[in-house]
Structures are given as structure tokens and as C-alpha cells.
Amino acid sequence: MSESKGYLDMELLRFTTAGSVDDGKSTLIGRLLYDSKAIFEDQIQNLQEVNEQRGEEGINLALLTDGLRSEREQGITIDVAYRYFATPKRKFIIADTPGHIQYTRNMVTGASTANLALLLIDARHGVIEQTKRHAFIASLLQIPHVAVCVNKMDLVDYGQEEFEKIKSDFKKFASKLEIKDVNFIPISALKGDNVVERSKNMDWYEGSTLIHLLENIHIGSDHNHVDCRFPIQRVIRPQSELHPDYRGYAGRIEGGVFKTGDEIMTLPSGKKSTIKSIDTFNGEIHEAFSPMSVCITLNDDIDISRGDMLVRANNQPQISQDIEVMICWMNERKLIPKGKYTIRHTSQTTRCIIKEIKYKIDINSLHRLEQENDLEMNDIGRISIKTTKPLFFDSYRRNRNTGSIILVNEATNETVGAGMII
């Protein structure tokens, strides 16, 4: 039973992949799933049957992730697909995003919760526009780690020179971005070099295999454990015989560490109190940190409701109605300058007006296009907004949870924009 015991101590790593049909992404994901036994016999059998019907030879792994009928019929991936696998060390969630249609929108969605971005580069073609777009989005969404897999090394005779050239080209481009941790791995997804097994064809490479990197990369610091942020989701008041006067604040810790006895301040009221208890169904705990969901009680009766936030008096978020945002537009109806939208941020919902579109970014050249003030689907640009009531926020760079917003169209109710607070 040691194996399942180990399973209970596993960490969770979320990573995102993107790319087009022919860069070997499906092969790579297929290999990770195969080798970790996450593909089952009936799925393989099903794939074989489907391939025979379609008159194709071999197994097309893309059919595993392309779950919708229209995707299979057209041979394209429309939407982000989530895949799961585990090794004895970690559980992995892959957000697999399509390479062509609505590229930016899907990539941004997949990247928003990822610890790591897996970038595939074809060793024969080197750094291309798609690589640059992908790297830019990884940087914009502040994915903490990037793994650059130089694939199809078998087609360049496992040459170190080709690998080094791509590495230096990528670094040169990435110097304009904010990518904290980049790892380069020469692989062949098809032949299995450096994916799970170390390659015998590339003695010159001394780094880790892809799976070793995924299993061991340090993700403990990916959450903010410095700035205490506790947005209230719901007030818990049982008013039952057993708990007649209980009043607790349910939410998830979005930053920092909260301990019993800590002095806290509530926003927006600014009133102070101390933490009486941190309650969970399994009993009281004395310390809670991101991303735990808990229920906190205070020693004073303060009027607190959903949308309020518990913080520390000496470490407060920004409190403002004027907010600068990098926005990715996600809807066919383009952003309306001076338009009004519903905005969601932590557990707050309010309204905002678009004051100004400052510039649009050409995501291939990274140039700022200051004259263009049209934001259409898949465009990224900087805007300033004014909200109807103050938000309590941090910059996205400092805290992804308290620095992100979505905009909702008030007529269609669709989520139309995803924003990162500057």
C-alpha cells in the first residue's frame, strides 16, 4: 500500500500547452498520458475503431482530446480541453489549448490558472511567431514557470548546435518579457527522447527530462504567502440551537497567512478586530494560507458582508475606483469605448465604465499600437476603467488572485474581457 500512501502526499501542478497540429503537441501529450497510464484500453480501442472508420492509419491522439462532434468532424480543436494524469510524485492537470482558432482567447483561459507553460518549438523551424505569441501570453499571465521543449530533435540529428541556437534566439526574445523561470529541454516526443526516459542520443544534454522537470519544479512559492487577503464569499450564521450566536466569514485565502489571534482590518469599513477562530468541518485550525477555503470568526461584532475583505492594517491592498488594466478581449462584439460593463473581482461584483483605450499590443512584434483604439476578439490592450464602488486590489504581478478581473456584457451576460490589473 506504499503507492497509495504516497498518492496522498502528492502536489498538484497545472500546466498549459498550446500549438498547432503539426508541431507534435498531441504526440507529446499522448506520450505523457500513455507512459503515466492515463489512457485506458477502451479509449485506445475506441480510437482505433474511429480511425478505421475515417480510413486513417495508426492512432490519432488528437481524437482523445477533441471531445466534441464538430471538432472530430472538422479535425480541429475548438476549445480548451482538460486532461489529467499522475505520476507517483505529482498530479497534473493539462489545459490543452488549440493553436489556430481563437488562439489568444483560449490560451489566456488555459494560462490563467497554470503553474507552468509548456512551449513546443520544432527543432527544424526554430523560434517562430507562434512561439513568440505563446511566450508573450505566458509572460502577460505571469505563469511562474516555462518549459521550452525543442521537439523533433531526431529530425536534426540530435544536434547540439541547433538546440543552442534556438535557446539563444528564445532568450533574446524573452529578454523583452517577464518570464522568471525558463527551462530548455531537447526532446523527441515521437521517439521518446528526454520525455520520460533520458535520451541516449544527446549525451551533450545534462539537464533533466521533461517529466523530471514537471515532477520536481518548485511550486511551493507560486502562491503569495506575504500579503494577507481574505475576500468574504458568504457570512455563515446557522442561528441553530447548537450555534445560536455563531457568525463566521467563509472564503478562500487569496494571499498571506492568517493565524488565530492575529489583528486584522476589514475593508471597506477600516474597522479592526482579532481572529477568534479559523473553523473547518474537520475541526479548528490555527493557521490558514492560500489557497485554503476556511471560515473565520472575529472577536468583535462588525458589519461584514460578501465582497468585503480581511487584511492587515499595515499591509493593505490598493483601494480605488480608477484602475489600469491589461485586457484580453474575448467576445465577437468588440469593446465599446465609454461602454459600461459589469466587473467581477474577487468576491465583488460592481459596474464600470471604460474611460480610455490607451494602446493595443501587436502580439507578434510586441509593439504598442497607440493609434489603434479598437479592441476586437483576441486583441490585448491597455485600458483604464472607473468602477462604481472602490475595489481592493493588488497588481496582478504581485497577486494573480487579487489582481485579476473579468468584464461581463450587461445585455448578453457573456464574459467578454479578462483583465490583469497593472
Binding site: L8, E11, G67, M292, R344, A418
Partner: protein, 301 residues
């Protein structure tokens, strides 16, 4: 390594609790679908955790096909009695009697598809604006494309090509009158996660999940348990086998599998080494390549 690390099960648990609380906050009248299977038992457990020490602020709803294993129903009734939470039961038989659903004919007529009718009727008659479900993305490929907050139109239909993007932990439950949402808090859990969680949290589950002797018949590669709703073909006969359920659904379409696993530890060992998916034993999914997608579009959960 610092001490501020959570295991993957704790992260998944926290994510699910967060989403269940969002549902309570964003919707006026939510309901939690409950089938008596392990996923809905976990959902129930997570909902109790989310609002502790308060009760769950919404009812459970069971769409009872009348084709359930008796063990499931006994377990359901005991669980509700012990916890004092509220359960609403909607009978597929009533939809059939009212003429809104029409019974299939054949050797093992499935009421699986009819559930959708009763479910939509239940949602409409109760004026529920959100139904929480225990579906997981790893179960089936159409489910892999499902959002946590899944929008349904007035007819309860799912439009997979026009789903709202879902980013970070910001969930958008806004809708027009008459529309509703399906919300799936354990989307990111795998079958293995569910079993590990049950073991870890010492959650009681129906005895069907553990190995027991039962009369079965093998049909189209699926082992079906003996019950009043299944008729034998000429060349078939009942035989006794030691089996257990990997998933629990209707007796007419849920296959059992031969197994000797009689403890949680043995089940986990079996899940870790098994080479067939959980839904591989579901006759309802075998009907076509896109069976699940089609049912979901019609309003299945």
C-alpha cells in the same frame, strides 16, 4: 520545502468548496443533484464542509428512475436521516405517467435518457436557477470541455461551441430569466482522487462498491445485474459472480465488474492498476461516439 504546501486533494477540496459557496452566493435558488453514487456523495460531503457549522442552504434533488439498485436507495435514505439535510425526490415514473416521457422498449429498456425530462421538469417546477452536479472532466470526452459554471438556455440545452470563457477563479453566473446553470465543483477530480478522498475522509459509501456475490448476465461486453427490468435473450442465463460497481447508475445500463476488492484499500489498488475507464461499463455511453455530448445538449447533466 516550506510548510505552506497543500496536497493535491486539499487543493481540489478547497476549489470545490469555493465553487459551492459561489453558487450559494450567486444564485437565488440552487439545488444539488444527488444520485447516491460516489461522486454525488462526495459533493454532499463537500457542501456540508462549505457551510459548516450551518446546514446546506439548498436542497438535494434525486431524479429517481425507479431502476436503482435497492442498496443505493437504502443508503440515500439513511444518509438524509442521519444528517438532517433536505432531499427532494422526482420520479421518472411520474413523467411517464404524465405522458411527458415515453418508456423505451426492448430487453433492457433504459430510463437514462428519460432522466433528462424529469430533471428539467424538476428544475422548472422548483424554480431552481442552478443545479449542482458531480460530473468530472475525466469521465468522458464531452465532459472534458465542460465549464465549472455551465450555462443552459430556457430549454436546458448546452451549447458547447458557445461557452463562456472561464478564467482564474472568477465565475460568471449571470443569466436571463428562465435560463439556468449547471455547476460542476469536482470537474478537476479524477476517479483516483475521488477514491483517495473517500478513504482519507472516511466517507461512507453504498455496499455496492465493495465486492459481493450477485446474479449477472454478460451482454455486449457489459455485466448486468439481475433485476426485474432486464429480460434474458434465448441463449442467455443468469450466473453468480463476485462483482462490484465502479460507478452506480441504473441497473439496466450500469455494468458491474468482476472484482474481489472488499476494502477501500483494495479498491484503490484496483483503480490504480485497472486498464479500462470507469464509464467503459456504461451501456448508455456505448450507444454512439457522441452519446454523452448529444445527451448533454438536450439537458442531461
Amino acid at each position: 520545502m516550506n510548510s505552506y504546501n497543500l496536497t493535491h486533494l486539499k487543493v481540489l477540496e478547497s476549489e470545490a468548496i469555493f465553487i459551492i459557496r459561489e453558487v450559494a452566493a450567486q444564485f437565488e435558488k440552487p439545488v444539488m443533484l444527488f444520485s447516491g453514487g460516489k461522486d454525488s456523495i462526495i459533493m454532499f460531503h463537500l457542501a456540508r464542509k462549505a457551510f459548516f457549522p450551518d446546514k446546506i442552504p439548498f436542497p438535494l434533488m434525486h431524479i429517481d428512475t425507479g431502476h436503482n439498485f435497492p442498496e443505493t436507495i437504502n443508503f440515500r435514505d439513511k444518509l438524509i436521516k442521519e444528517t438532517g439535510e433536505k432531499l427532494i425526490i422526482k420520479l421518472v415514473q411520474e413523467s411517464i405517467d404524465n405522458g411527458t416521457a415515453i418508456e423505451e422498449s426492448g430487453l433492457n429498456p433504459s430510463r437514462n435518457g428519460l432522466q433528462t425530462v424529469t430533471l428539467l421538469e424538476g428544475i422548472e417546477s422548483g424554480n431552481y436557477d442552478c443545479a449542482l452536479g458531480g460530473a468530472r472532466r475525466d469521465e468522458e470526452k464531452a465532459r472534458a470541455k465542460e465549464r465549472f459554471f455551465s450555462h443552459r438556455d430556457e430549454f436546458g440545452q448546452w451549447d458547447p461551441k458557445n461557452q463562456r470563457p472561464e478564467l482564474w477563479n472568477l465565475f460568471n453566473g449571470k443569466k436571463n430569466i428562465g435560463e439556468h446553470f449547471r455547476v460542476f465543483p469536482i470537474s478537476n477530480w479524477t476517479e483516483m482522487d475521488v477514491w483517495q478522498y473517500i478513504l482519507n475522509e472516511k466517507i461512507a459509501i453504498p455496499s455496492l462498491y465493495f465486492a459481493h456475490k450477485r446474479q449477472v448476465v454478460s451482454r455486449d461486453g457489459v455485466l448486468l445485474a439481475k433485476c426485474a427490468h432486464i429480460s434474458l435473450k434465448k441463449d442467455e442465463s443468469w450466473e453468480e459472480k463476485t462483482v462490484r460497481c465502479r460507478t452506480i447508475g441504473d441497473m439496466t445500463c450500469t455494468g458491474v465488474s468482476e472484482s474481489l476488492a472488499s476494502t477501500m484499500e483494495e479498491i484503490i489498488e484496483e483503480v490504480a492498476t485497472t486498464r479500462v475507464t470507469e464509464r467503459g461499463g456504461r451501456a448508455d455511453d456505448k450507444r454512439s461516439e457522441a452519446a454523452m455530448e448529444d445527451r448533454k445538449k438536450e439537458g442531461y447533466f
